[in-house]
Symmetry: C2
Subunit: 231 residues, 2 copies
Amino acid sequence: MSSCETCVVRNRAICAGLDNQEIAALNTMGRRRSVGAGEPLIWEDDDSLLVANVIEGVLKLTTSTEDGREQIVGVAYPSDFIGRPFGQTSRASVVALTDARVCVFARNDFDRFAREHPELEHKLLERTLAELDRTRSWMMLLGRKTAPEKIATFLLEMSDRLDDTGCAVKLGPARRFSLPFSRQQVADVLGLTIETVSRQFTKLKNDGVIELPSRREVEILDRPALVALAG
Amino acid sequence: MSSCETCVVRNRAICAGLDNQEIAALNTMGRRRSVGAGEPLIWEDDDSLLVANVIEGVLKLTTSTEDGREQIVGVAYPSDFIGRPFGQTSRASVVALTDARVCVFARNDFDRFAREHPELEHKLLERTLAELDRTRSWMMLLGRKTAPEKIATFLLEMSDRLDDTGCAVKLGPARRFSLPFSRQQVADVLGLTIETVSRQFTKLKNDGVIELPSRREVEILDRPALVALAG
DNA sequence: GACTCGCCTTGACCGATATCAAATCGGTGA
DNA sequence: TCACCGATTTGATATCGGTCAAGGCGAGTC
């Protein structure tokens, strides 16, 4: 499933440009760690001691207000990086949505290594720029889209990111897939309430746009209709 | 006002770590350009030919839907970078909010230079990570905050970013400042309508929290109240 | 099978914010 | 000074999505 069996070694996206000796060094630094579904990885307002590379599973990045409102500000799939290298602390907490395996680095070690290996920093920069773009288009969704548009956009994004096993393998958009999110978590991604999410799902089902074989599974029956709804 | 009179040379935040020869090389590549208030710099869906460094002024990054809804997804102040190095095209358009001066690089030149100068890439990575953090906390605002909370958060952010001349010099939060945004643009930042923005401003004024000496000027009378409202 | 516990769906209602419309303000040029 | 025009404010009303409150369904467990 994962492209990275020995932590970082096989992760082509990250390691391209690193020579064998460098990969070996990274490998020594990193430690594998399993995180059960629902378990946290880095606490909000923590000192952000960790940088991690996702090997398998899906994790959420969230921020919340004092009174308990939560917003999911990012989702990490296999090969994504988590954490905040270089000094500043990140304000987001990380919680596994599915059972996950990650490759964890002490931030200081990682920082030092990265600074000595420009190719790695370049990869990180490219990824961070891509993530920023994704995040910005999500701002459009949060600020300006209606509930039906949000749901349609979300389903299309999921179908692009997931295959029918729930993993982030890309073979073109999946027709049927298994959501790593509960209804509440979908609501937290889209800035909606659980009831609104539920009603919109039901409406799409009644309109013949999707099928819901089980609570976590979605099958897209009419992709063009979804695209039109997404706006 | 600007910390950068000869384009990049004096911009300490970017140039730290570069030697004089490197700075000279960057300087040769960059060309200064003036952008009038309301003028665009890079069009949406363009090939994103430019990378630029803001010298003076404020610019907005926006995405919009086909039917004309607009969301401001970022704001660039002096010393900020604009554009999307390394291949991918950016989906955001850039428009000056005030008269602005920027230092423009052809993207290909910039990419090549950056790849040959790891220190510059490192700075870019740090900035991009910081911008990603800011963007993520803005997602919280868009998805989960109420209109009064949005307005209060916005005013506090402005007071941190601006001094009373409208420039991005930091001497602690400003008590009084001049907004680079019209009411419509404030609405586009916060995911609200112009009417809601106006009503909330009026309410804060009536409650004695702020004063509005003119359409573009704001004076904060009761900062603790604003902080409390921001949530 | 039936009990239980979470999660999800559904329904009734409400309220915050959008929408539509009109009045007012402030700056600009004659 | 006055007329004009766009920006802003204010008012009246509509609506989407939130809130509150029941049910229902499915997966374990006994």
